[in-house]
Subunit: 277 residues, 2 copies
């Protein structure tokens, strides 16, 4: 019963999203609004911590076992499996990322001594500390194929309507082996500007910004000293892209035709990073 | 106070380890024993779940904030930052991994409907489901440099006494952006058989097996269909190694001298995987 309740509870928010999404035309997807102004992920105030009440999202429990004849236990969480998608736009020759405010990252940027002082000083610790650059991703909590869920996430977060057959399954791995252990499956897809039928940005209260980066920008970014505000799954995904796909598109951009100059064509990208995201 | 307690509590187990380690000579590191037999990570029985009591390891809380004028909250965990180390043995020309039983991975391999039936049937769901292949790694919970902590982990888990200056810092990233958000710093080091002064295998009750894989074995493994029982940080680390280091050692192995044959020299590795770890 314990675990059934966890699974059910975790699904509630997602199911609400699905109902909302089913009732709207995808063309109408807009960034979340508040009093007729777009919501800004940098506009952060009134941050404070409280003990965890009965939560629909984080359900910890203790795993008890006997290993090699010794009693042991391990404290962990029940979480959903997930998908992540490398999205490459072949019209603009850019990788498509999502940028969002992650409370868990923000929290870890604040020195331990200052986390406990009641309300956190957001003028001293701006929201940008917790803004990450990630692959488009989502949890697996419905009776659909992984491809179908990946397709939905690319639409909801990035605005592209990508055909199912274009979603290539790359690898599955354990998203965190310590307390989480869920399976994440990574896909790759190529999209064109013609497939863009919405702005992306997520559903409900999500504030997600779609960010495009050229291959040289990505190479420069992952070579920097960091710390990079990104998960290792995004770094693995980028290394996979650079190993298996980048050369084809790098050459294409450098030599679009025999008569064109050999310099890279400037691409209209959203250069996002003031900090080393 | 809440967070101070979390940090203190999380450190307790680790501090015990340090005291134990300080009282022993590194040469004496042995695999954990039970009734004069080495403990086997595959010997798993009596698995059951219970609600989480007050835990020193998993301390969840709620993060409250106002973003874009809207009240929000996020449920998450306080965890330590960590280090992970790519270890390459240049005597044997192998990458050095650690293999261990991870309860969170095992749990996620059991269908949700069967997780709730009291004791889990370990004959139906063997421990191998939860055995992962990872980089050597450890948490940052003491007043030492990241390099010093990385050096200690390489010794405790893999048995190599690597000089500090040989630990090259590669990248830092966010180990899980959902509920965790802590910083993981990745190092690379090259070791020789001469530096091996212990068996590794961890400290206290840890059952960690040191596993060696050749470069072709690694390339084959990460190209497989999976699912791979490994975290994305390990996959990123391997891709980094293949991109920046592998060619040097692959060529060395293929052509050890001008007179040798061009075939790869067989390496005495512990081939670990019956399943697709």
């Amino acid at each position: 019963m314990l675990i059934t309740n966890i699974i059910r509870a975790c699904s509630t928010k997602r199911l609400l999203y699905e109902v909302k999404l089913a009732n709207q035309t995808v063309k109408k997807i807009k960034p979340p609004m508040h009093k007729d102004k777009p919501l800004k992920m940098e506009d952060l105030t009134k941050v404070y911590l409280t003990p965890l009440p009965d939560s629909p999202y984080v359900r910890p429990f203790r795993f008890n076992y006997v290993q090699g004849g010794k009693d042991k236990n391990w404290d962990m969480l029940a979480v959903h499996d997930s998908v992540a998608i490398i999205v490459f736009n072949t019209t603009k020759n850019v990788l498509v990322f999502v940028k969002q405010f992650r409370p868990a990252v923000y929290f870890n940027c604040i020195p331990p001594g200052e986390r406990e002082a009641g309300e956190i000083d957001t003028s001293k610790y701006p929201a940008s500390l917790g803004i990450t650059l990630e692959m488009c991703a989502g949890i697996v909590d419905k009776n659909k194929s992984l491809q179908e869920i990946a397709k939905e996430e690319v639409l909801e977060e990035c605005g592209y309507d990508v055909p199912l057959k274009e979603l290539l399954q790359i690898a599955s791995y354990r998203a965190g082996v310590g307390v989480q252990g869920s399976l994440q499956t990574l896909f790759y897809c190529e999209v064109t500007d013609d497939m863009k039928i919405g702005k992306g940005g997520g559903v409900e209260d999500e504030i997600i910004e779609v960010v495009e980066k050229t291959i040289p920008e990505v190479e420069k970014w992952i070579s920097g000293p960091g710390p990079l505000n990104t998960p290792p799954s995004c770094l693995f995904a980028l290394m996979w892209f650079l190993r298996h796909k980048a050369d084809k598109y790098r050459n294409f951009r450098l030599k679009p035709s025999k008569t064109a100059c050999s310099e890279a064509i400037p691409v209209n990208v959203d250069v996002f990073a003031k900090t080393d995201l």
